[in-house]
């Protein structure tokens, strides 16, 4: 069954505010060409939508067993539309926009958020969490699951996250703080990478950049085979290491029994190993 609900902006021409019931299994789907999408979690099994729309637009909410879809409808080219939406904490989200800023907090379902020009800021998320921006910083805090975060031209920051991490930026820094993971892949071309988190026995950590530094905070009890590769860069360590093998711009050494695999690569940047508590390098935004 498919229910379409149209809310005409009767009280104020540009504002609409309505609440619909939500059922387990439904996702929230929002597509905003231009404007902000803000989503909060709450304990009610209902979706409240507050929208600020162009005076000629109207809010449409479609419901199916799988989704609650929110959009603005108008004649002609898409207009600015800002949404502030409150959903059950269990609800999954699929949010997209072009010139849109996306913010989420308090939701513990799977999250997909993608914009072209704008930041993506998410607190929460559980399951598959995929965040993307072309031109805008992306940050994720307090999520767990399979996490895939990308910005083309800006920084990516993850904090207090756990699970399998895949993080990319072409021209931005990658900062992974207080991470719990046994499988992390972080790749940049022109940005530095910072990793501060667990190095689990049997885990795999692959941090690669071309033109930036790679800094890893290594716990005292780390148990890892470390492979360092650089062409024109440097290597620095807060603690002594004994190189086991050196070949083709690459050397390896072992910490503890060497159970985890830590691969660190920078074509022309510095690769640093630090101990917990030492000062992390400043990010570009701190300078």
């Amino acid at each position: 069954m498919f229910i379409a609900l149209t809310v005409l902006a009767l009280l104020l021409p540009q504002d609409a505010d309505t609440t619909v019931a939500a059922q387990r299994g439904q996702r929230l789907e929002v597509n905003a060409h231009s404007g902000d999408i803000t989503v909060h979690g709450w304990s009610r099994n209902a979706v409240r939508v507050h929208a600020s729309l162009d005076e000629h637009a109207r809010l449409e909410i479609d419901q199916s067993p799988n989704a609650v879809s929110v959009r603005s409808a108008q004649r002609g080219a898409p207009k600015d539309a800002d949404y502030e939406i409150t959903v059950p904490t269990w609800m999954g989200l699929t949010l997209s926009g072009v010139n849109a800023e996306i913010k989420v907090d308090g939701v513990q379902g799977p999250i997909s958020a993608e914009t072209v020009n704008g930041t993506v800021t998410v607190k929460g998320g559980d399951g598959i969490v995929s965040l993307r921006s072309v031109q805008g910083a992306v940050s994720l805090e307090g999520a767990k699951g399979r996490i895939d975060v990308t910005s083309v031209n800006d920084d990516v920051t993850l904090a207090d996250v756990s699970g399998e991490l895949h993080v990319e930026s072409v021209n931005g820094e990658i900062r992974l703080e207080r991470v719990e993971s046994d499988n992390t892949e972080a790749t940049s071309v022109n940005g530095s990478i910072l990793y501060n988190g667990t190095i689990r026995a049997g885990g795999r950590y692959h941090l690669v950049t071309h033109n930036g530094d790679v800094t890893v905070t290594v716990p005292e009890n780390a148990d890892a085979l470390v492979a360092v590769s650089t062409f024109q860069g440097d290597f620095e360590s807060d603690f002594p290491v004994t190189v086991r093998e050196r070949r083709d711009n690459r050397f390896t050494f072992t910490l503890g029994g060497g159970s985890a695999r830590l691969e660190l690569e920078s074509f022309q940047g510095t690769i640093r190993l630090k101990r917990p508590g030492s000062h992390p390098p400043k990010s570009k935004s701190d300078e």
Binding site: N117, H210, F267
Partner: protein, 76 residues
């Protein structure tokens, strides 16, 4: 840049010029990284790290081109 222009040709006019500039700038960064790796490899063709680095950087270029194509098609 011609690669990106070809990719975007199908969706020409659908991406705004600022987005195209950002994509072009980032593609140029990747191309410079590829050129760096190729120069290094020319001097040391059997270097395993350099071969892997070049391959990975070329994959990054493909990913960005694919992303640009997807953006162009979804906004058309």
């Amino acid at each position: 840049m011609s690669d990106l222009k070809r990719v975007l040709a199908a969706g020409r006019g659908t991406l705004d010029t600022a987005t195209v500039r950002v994509l072009e700038r980032n593609l140029a960064l990747i191309d410079r990284a590829i050129a760096d790796a190729r120069r290094a490899l020319a001097a040391d063709p059997n270097n395993a790290y350099l071969n892997a680095h070049l391959a990975r950087t070329m994959h990054q270029k493909i990913d960005l081109l694919r992303r640009a194509a997807t953006l162009a098609s979804t906004q058309s």
